[in-house]
């Protein structure tokens, strides 16, 4: 059995793992980054990035073979022909569902940083204070003032484009120039502002696409092909941003095909000593030692690793002494909103393909607004002019029909809600030892559903979307309502939450495992609540902050 020693090990290479590796290596630590899947090299391995629809035999769609091969991925839009190899092979890595939970995973270097939606929003104290004020879950040990400098720090490096809108509920950040709203979005934004007396706002999305050259990257070319991997480094990913920075230090070793099965724990010293790796290609077991371990395997897999670690001390695994490990799984619930037609603007169109949309920040349960549920939701959407897919009333066949379709149709606008899901201990993951994956490892069982608070909120999401669009003069407004199956937000959060008390939380306010101070969990697992904004920017900020703390503790001899 080979043994190797590093200063720090980072488990996982996605958004938070990439940040951990960058920060640790830049502080001079020798770091091993372990990734369970294959390597994907920036630009070189983005094999479909320059393909057009017509280069794909099914024009990017899905075949019956794909549907058979991907029993989970097929449940929503991710199953497609253009970036199939960026998604985890469901059949190799099964999980079991007490209730349906759509778990869409990326098992490769970069993880879901390659395919993420890039929307990047700060939390505010409305979010950080909610648990404590309402007595839901556990109070966050962190407030906005603690994390704000770290938001500044990660935004400056990652490159977030956005407008400084001056909204308390959605703090401004260190933005690159914003993208343009379309003429119709501007119109609707004005009307919403007026109709709702300045209490509701339609703003341009804040996105990790760089609108000007940034950090040696040329920038977004407005191709809207982000999820194929961007040869221009147009958006933040591990490959475009944190990995090259970490590599440049000379302190990083990246090891793909490395499934971390366990964190080794010394019960006398109360410290982790390293990790056990199963080589996904050779099935050989290897141990690596380190002084610090960052667990960034993605929310549910980080919890899986903890559950499989130190079981000789705690039957439920490392962090289970809190009785919180695996509990309080959250996502954002979505699939609900409205859309319609906007009259006029026939002499206006757009140029370029904006990989972004508009955002309507939360307005429910803000200020004097009080609802029969807790928390709130935001909307994401777009106002665009129809392409060839518009209806043609006069013609159905032939030259006139064709010519009509080759001209743009009317302007449309649509939006969907992203709702906050409350932490609830009955929404949970556990180890399911009856099912094994391709490598003979036990799998997770997921038992999660929307509860009463979310169902009540969804009524508002639907009604408010309709009302706002109608008041803004949008015609033929139609609502759409899905079932909000959790997982579909692809924002898994919780299951190893941070808190103030080791009896009720897995981590302290520095993302440090109470029972193993040299183990840090900084992916979505640490989240004690979910807010309604997209979470990745918050993972980045907490990761950079936790590394800063970890290295200072290491230097003090505390780890």
């Amino acid at each position: 059995m080979a043994e190797q020693q590093y200063d720090a090990i980072v488990v996982g290479s996605g958004i938070s793992g990439g940040w951990a590796a960058k920060e640790l290596t830049e502080k001079g630590l020798k770091v091993l980054m372990l990734e369970r899947g294959r390597n994907i090299e920036h630009i070189k391995d983005y094999v479909n990035a320059n393909k057009e629809a017509w280069d794909h035999p099914h024009r990017g769609g899905r075949t019956q073979q794909m549907i058979q091969d991907y029993p989970v991925l097929k449940r929503d839009y991710p199953l497609n022909e253009t970036n199939l190899d960026y998604w985890c092979v469901d059949k190799e890595s099964p999980y079991t569902e007490t209730k349906r939970f759509d778990w869409f995973r990326g098992y490769h270097v970069g993880g879901r940083s390659l395919m993420w939606g890039r929307q990047s929003y700060r939390w505010s104290d409305l979010d950080f204070e909610a648990n404590g004020k309402e007595g839901v879950g556990v109070d966050w040990p962190v407030r906005y003032k603690d994390i704000a400098p770290w938001y500044d720090y990660v935004e400056k490096f990652a490159g977030i484009s956005g407008n400084r809108d001056g909204l308390a509920v959605l703090p401004d950040g260190q933005f690159l120039p914003p993208m343009d709203l379309t003429c119709v979005e501007k119109d609707v934004a004005e009307r919403i502002k007026k109709e709702f007396k300045g209490e509701r706002h339609l703003i341009i999305g804040r996105t990790a696409n760089i609108t000007v050259p940034h950090g040696g990257r040329p920038g977004c070319q407005f191709r809207n092909k982000c999820w194929l991997g961007c040869p221009f480094g147009g958006y933040f990913s591990t490959q475009s941003s944190t990995l090259p920075a970490a590599m440049a230090t000379g302190n990083l070793t990246l090891r793909p095909w490395s499934i971390v099965t366990e964190i080794k724990y010394d019960k006398d010293k109360k410290r982790a000593t390293g990790v056990t790796v199963l080589d996904a290609e050779t099935n050989k077991t290897i141990e690596y030692k380190a002084k610090i371990i960052f667990v960034n395997a993605s929310t549910l897999n980080s919890t899986w690793i903890l559950m499989n670690s130190a079981t000789d001390v705690w039957e439920g695994g490392l962090g289970s002494s809190s009785n919180a490990l695996g509990k309080n799984l959250m996502d954002h619930h979505l699939g609900i909103g409205a859309g319609g037609l906007v009259e006029g603007y026939e002499d206006q169109y757009t140029f370029g393909r904006r990989a972004n949309g508009f955002y309507i920040p939360r307005f429910r349960n803000v200020g004097n607004d009080k609802r029969d549920y807790l928390r709130g939701f935001g909307y994401q959407g777009g106002g665009t002019r129809q392409g060839w897919q518009h209806e043609v009333a006069e013609f159905s066949i032939g030259a006139e029909f064709k010519e009509a379709l080759t001209e743009p149709g009317v302007w449309t606008i649509g939006m969907g809600g992203f709702g906050e899901m409350l932490p609830d201990p009955t929404n949970k993951v556990t180890l399911d030892k009856t099912v094994k994956d391709k490598w003979g490892l036990n799998v997770l069982n997921i038992d999660c559903e929307l509860k009463e608070n979310e169902h009540k909120m969804r009524k508002d999401i639907l009604a408010d979307a309709q009302e706002m669009l109608e008041k803004a003069g949008v015609k033929n407004v139609q609502a759409h309502e899905g079932d909000g199956t959790p997982g579909r937000g692809i924002h898994e959060m919780g299951t190893a939450r941070m808190g103030k008390d080791p009896k009720t939380s897995v981590l302290n306010g520095n993302n440090q495992v109470w029972d193993a101070p040299n183990v840090f969990v900084t992916d979505g697992a640490f989240m004690a609540s979910a807010s309604c904004v997209n979470p990745s920017l918050t993972y980045m900020a907490f990761t950079a902050r936790a590394v800063d703390f970890a290295v200072s503790e290491l230097k003090k001899g505390n780890l």
């Binding site: 024009r59 075949t63 019956q64």
Partner: protein, 188 residues
């Protein structure tokens, strides 16, 4: 991952039950095919049907985009068995309808006769789809038309000649001048 999500739901709202090419393409063809055989003659037949729907004008038409071949691939790989059956039987049904209306087979008909036939079939299909429940089988002509439109407008000639396409726009402008007659952007 909002853009794609929102784009899909928006198309779903706007197309509703309408006969539009994007629908099968975006909803991603529920399938369980065992493989079907469409002959060269079938492909040639489908090419002519598609060309009647989207003829060559000042810009290329469906045959230039090899829509017949595209239909074969999509029906083979993406259609469920029951839809494959409807599609294949549809070739015969269309030809029979041609004989009834024009007293000759589709391939033997003049362009005007072909157009008249497809106009009547389009009407029939729309009426059928309007009354149909979601679980009812689709009308074969709806399939032909959807595949023709998606096949043509996502083809290279369709996207770059009939529509406009800029591979690397380099910028985004939210209010860009448009005058009647300017082509729509192909969004691929």
């Amino acid at each position: 991952m909002m853009n794609r999500r929102e784009a899909l739901s928006r198309v779903a709202i706007l197309t509703g039950g309408a006969v539009l090419g994007a629908e099968a393409f975006l909803s991603g063809c529920k399938t369980n095919s065992k493989g079907i055989s469409l002959s060269k003659d079938d492909v040639a037949f489908l090419d002519e049907v598609a060309e009647t729907i989207i003829p060559k004008t000042a810009t290329p038409g469906a045959k230039d985009a090899k829509v017949g071949e595209f239909m074969k691939i999509m029906v083979n790989d993406c259609y469920e068995t029951k839809d494959q059956t409807i599609f294949i039987e549809g070739i015969k049904k269309l030809d029979e309808a041609s004989k009834k209306l024009n007293s000759k087979g589709f391939m033997e008909s003049t362009p005007e006769q072909r157009k008249a036939l497809l106009v009547s079939l389009d009407k029939e299909a729309k009426e059928y789809q309007k009354a149909a429940k979601p679980e009812d089988p689709k009308h074969y002509f709806t399939m032909f038309k959807q595949l023709t439109l998606s096949g043509f407008f996502t083809s290279e000639v369709g996207a770059t000649k009939a529509l406009r396409y800029v591979a690397v726009p380099g910028k985004f402008v939210g209010s860009y001048p448009y005058k009647k007659g300017d082509k729509a952007w192909a969004t691929s």
